[in-house]
Symmetry: C2
Subunit: 256 residues, 2 copies
């Protein structure tokens, strides 16, 4: 539960690289599907303003109530929105990766963060001022359309998780959650302790141990001290509840 060394206003600039300063950085920025669409809509204005930042697990993007000055497009990373309960336990409300942007809900809502927002899977994010994003979508119909779709997609995910939390077991929710991560990052090896997973699923660490043990026994995953290896995706999909298919369809988008 530590590792929260970096707050939104204090992300050290030495972690930031100008996207254009090295040609090879332009390619990773395009990993984010939404940013790609926005760049296509207004490249000359946006591209020079994009910065890339690297963050690790549980690093803080926004605290509750923060005024949002910048939004983040995950490239190979994943960001969680979390609720923190009165008893101190946490639970993930949404997980967003390369399909979306972090800070949109605050931006369209009222300018402040409605939830604690932390890294779930460490990696790179593209960073953009809200002013630049604001300028783009108020002046560009296509950009607004893509942003609204991303927002609507977030609503779908949160809705389905409300259902899933109410009705499905920890095992099903774990399988669902792992598949969602797998869809959003490139690679089968994840740095995730069981404590970290518990803080996202809103369950006990001991409960995750049991559920992860079941997934190991069917050879779906392998676990070793903070290193989770997704060994058999198909097996995971057999363990998952109906919620995954609904969120996956939304993640894939209307294209296919």
């Amino acid at each position: 539960m530590k590792g929260a060394q970096v707050s939104q206003s204090t992300i050290p600039s030495d972690k930031t690289d100008k996207a254009l300063s090295a040609g090879r950085l332009i390619t990773p920025v395009s990993q984010n599907r939404l940013l790609n669409h926005l760049l296509a809509a207004d490249p000359d204005y946006l591209l020079p303003q994009v910065r890339v930042v690297k963050l690790g697990f549980n690093d803080i993007i926004y605290e509750y109530g923060d005024t949002i000055h910048e939004v983040f497009f995950p490239l190979d990373s994943i960001v969680s929105s979390l609720a923190i309960m009165e008893d101190g336990t946490t639970i993930e409300i949404s997980m967003l990766g390369k399909e979306s942007v972090i800070g949109l809900s605050a931006l369209l809502g009222g300018g402040t963060a409605r939830h604690w927002t932390r890294m779930c899977i460490g990696g790179s994010l593209a960073r953009l001022s809200t002013a630049a994003l604001d300028h783009t979508f108020t002046s560009n119909e296509s950009a607004l359309k893509h942003l609204m779709h991303a927002y609507s997609s977030l609503v779908t995910q949160v809705s389905q998780r409300a259902v899933c939390n109410a009705r499905h077991t920890v095992l099903e929710r774990l399988a669902c959650w792992l598949l969602m991560i797998h869809d959003r990052v490139g690679g089968d090896n994840l740095r995730l302790t069981q404590e970290a997973i518990a803080s996202r699923l809103g369950a006990r660490r001991a409960g995750i141990t049991v559920a992860a043990g079941m997934l190991q026994s069917i050879r779906a995953i392998e676990y070793r001290r903070g290193q989770l290896h997704i060994r058999d995706r198909d097996e995971l999909e057999r363990a998952v509840c109906e919620c995954y298919a609904i969120m996956k369809a939304d993640f894939d988008g209307p294209k296919r």
Copy 2:
């Protein structure tokens, strides 16, 4: 679980009254806070297009996948968005009343309904074509701002319900749900069977009987064959979980 006689495309016109045809109907239309804001922004264009319709419990607003041609502003009624699970059970994702509009998420998303949408508390709704709404918020900054706030407020509610479903008891969720209804309708007497409540909370009917029995024993409510009377709101607020305060603050809005 019956009573679904009326679908979106077949709401009989004899249930519809032109808002302007009788002066006294203008007042009820103003019961919806959001519609009030929109009418203030563009009254000459919008007001002639508003119709009032009355619907009863479980009447259908949208089916899953419906193309949205009209949006609805609840006046003294409440509308539920529901997920229907594979086993046939249902669970409420959001409840909206006089503070918001039904169909906005579909409108901003992609034009089709993402969830089954049914009446929760019967009563009147103001009805408007999506074309009219679309015209208003694309041409009027203030209207767009109010709509975005309503959408953001919906996200807050759904998020908190995801938390609540995961961590709180049926008793807490029932108290929370009843208070939310009480905030949205005028009056202490509700027509709600325990079966109806169960279909919203995603619990068993027998579970609702037990929880409602507890609320009766502390004199918070009285129950009598489909008639629920909220007897002591303060007592309900003592039984509720932390989630209610969060959703209530959002319902009240930034004004106070």
